[in-house]
């Protein structure tokens, strides 16, 4: 049992030591001890080995089963997530459709309710007029289309600025336009046209060039009157001296969308006890 040799690990390297003692020394020691004790060494595996080997089998199988199960689970969870995403997307699209159809239903119901009486019709007319002016409802009609753009191979001075678009739109209002939109972004009295970095935003949406300003109004007179306004004059000058694109074309019929996210900031409905429709909407 006690050896006179220096311990193996002190004379050889670690890896060599591991290799050299890969068989547990206990086997040799137990064997020696048994021989010294004079009892017959148990060389055959006994019940202990049987139990341990059974345990080993269970361990290996469990580990294998576990690994397979985990792999299944991660694959499953990936598929699950994809399925969930698609499901939610479909649900979202469905709900958006629902919002649209409910909005239409509300409009229809309001229209039919208002048209039921003379007073209601007056209110409905007023609503339509106000909705058009406020940009809350889509507008359709004849008008002009003013297409402006940077000059070809524009230098910094030859680009359309937010200020230029503001003047253009103000000129159109001055000339009698009833509804205005830039690149299908409806202009309301709360709309800001401003430069944000490289691009110009309207209703917080970035515009792409060229800028098409649609204005609904008398198509015969709107263009001419616009050129007489300060905004029109500015643009004639911009066109002539800087080469910015500036085209006015009359249109038979245009459709302008309603402005997005119109919200009331201060107005609240009156309590029903005090209010009648006439007063509220006057």
């Amino acid at each position: 049992m006690a050896t006179t040799d220096p311990p193996l690990r002190s004379v050889i390297g670690l890896l060599d030591h591991i290799t050299a003692t890969s068989l547990d020394e206990d086997y040799a020691q137990a064997s020696e001890r048994a021989a010294a004790g004079g009892r017959r060494p148990e060389r055959r595996p006994g019940t202990g080995s049987l139990a341990i080997l059974a345990l080993f089998g269970i361990l290996v199988v469990t580990a294998a089963v576990q690994t397979a199960r985990t792999a299944d689970q991660s694959a499953n969870s990936h598929d699950d997530l994809v399925a969930q995403i698609n499901e939610r997307k479909a649900a979202l699209a469905h709900q958006r459709d629902q919002i649209g159809s409910l909005h239409r239903a509300i409009d229809d119901m309001r229209a039919s309710y208002a048209e039921a009486s003379a007073q209601g019709r007056a209110v409905q007319n007023k609503l339509t007029r106000l909705g058009l002016a406020a940009g809350a409802s889509p507008a359709r009609g004849p008008g002009i289309k003013v297409t402006v753009d940077d000059a070809a191979h524009a230098t910094a001075k030859q680009q359309v600025l937010d200020k230029d678009l503001q003047k253009l739109v103000n000129g159109l209002w001055e000339a009698g336009a009833e509804a205005v939109a830039i690149n299908d972004q409806r202009i309301t009295n709360l709309t800001a046209i401003r430069g944000a970095g490289e691009s110009i935003t309207v209703n917080y949406a970035s515009l792409k060039r060229p800028y098409v300003v649609s204005a609904i109004g008398n198509p015969d007179r709107l263009g001419a009157r616009f050129l007489d306004t300060a905004g029109g004059q500015t643009w004639v000058a911009l066109h002539l001296s800087f080469g910015l694109r500036f085209d006015i074309t009359p249109e038979e019929s245009m459709k302008l969308p309603a402005a997005p996210h119109l919200a009331l900031h201060y107005a609240v409905p009156r309590r029903p006890a005090q209010a009648n429709t006439k007063e509220t909407l006057r």
């Binding site: 591991i18 595996p45 080995s49 341990i52 345990l55 089998g57 290996v60």
Partner: protein, 110 residues
């Protein structure tokens, strides 16, 4: 003979029962299997060397599995679980290889 029987019984039991491994035990299962494999190959080699001992096998198997799991557990607590697992697997792997080499020499005399 009895060894093969034990192994067979274990495999069948595992397949039939499919015991659920608790989550906290899951990370230690693979390393325990490697440690058990080392003990089993060591036993096989000892058997072929003619110095097999039942008790030594039982003790070495259990202690191998427990110590391997303990080292990984300790490593996890110290934040070096991955590295310690690698170390344990390298050492056990070397032992398994050299034991299998000895077994091969016994069986094929080469």
């Amino acid at each position: 003979m009895i060894a093969g029987l034990g192994l067979l019984v274990g495999v069948v039991l595992g397949l039939v029962l499919q015991p659920a491994v608790p989550v906290w035990l899951e990370p230690y299962l693979p390393i325990a299997v490697v440690a058990a494999l080392d003990a089993v190959f060591g036993a096989l080699r000892a058997f072929l060397d003619g110095i097999f001992d039942d008790k030594v096998f039982v003790v070495s198997f259990i202690s191998n599995v427990l110590i391997a799991a303990l080292i990984v557990y300790l490593g996890d607590k110290l934040g070096v679980g991955g590295q310690l697992s690698t170390g344990v697997i390298v050492v056990l792997g070397i032992r398994i290889f050299s034991n299998v080499a000895a077994i091969r020499r016994h069986i094929f005399h080469a």
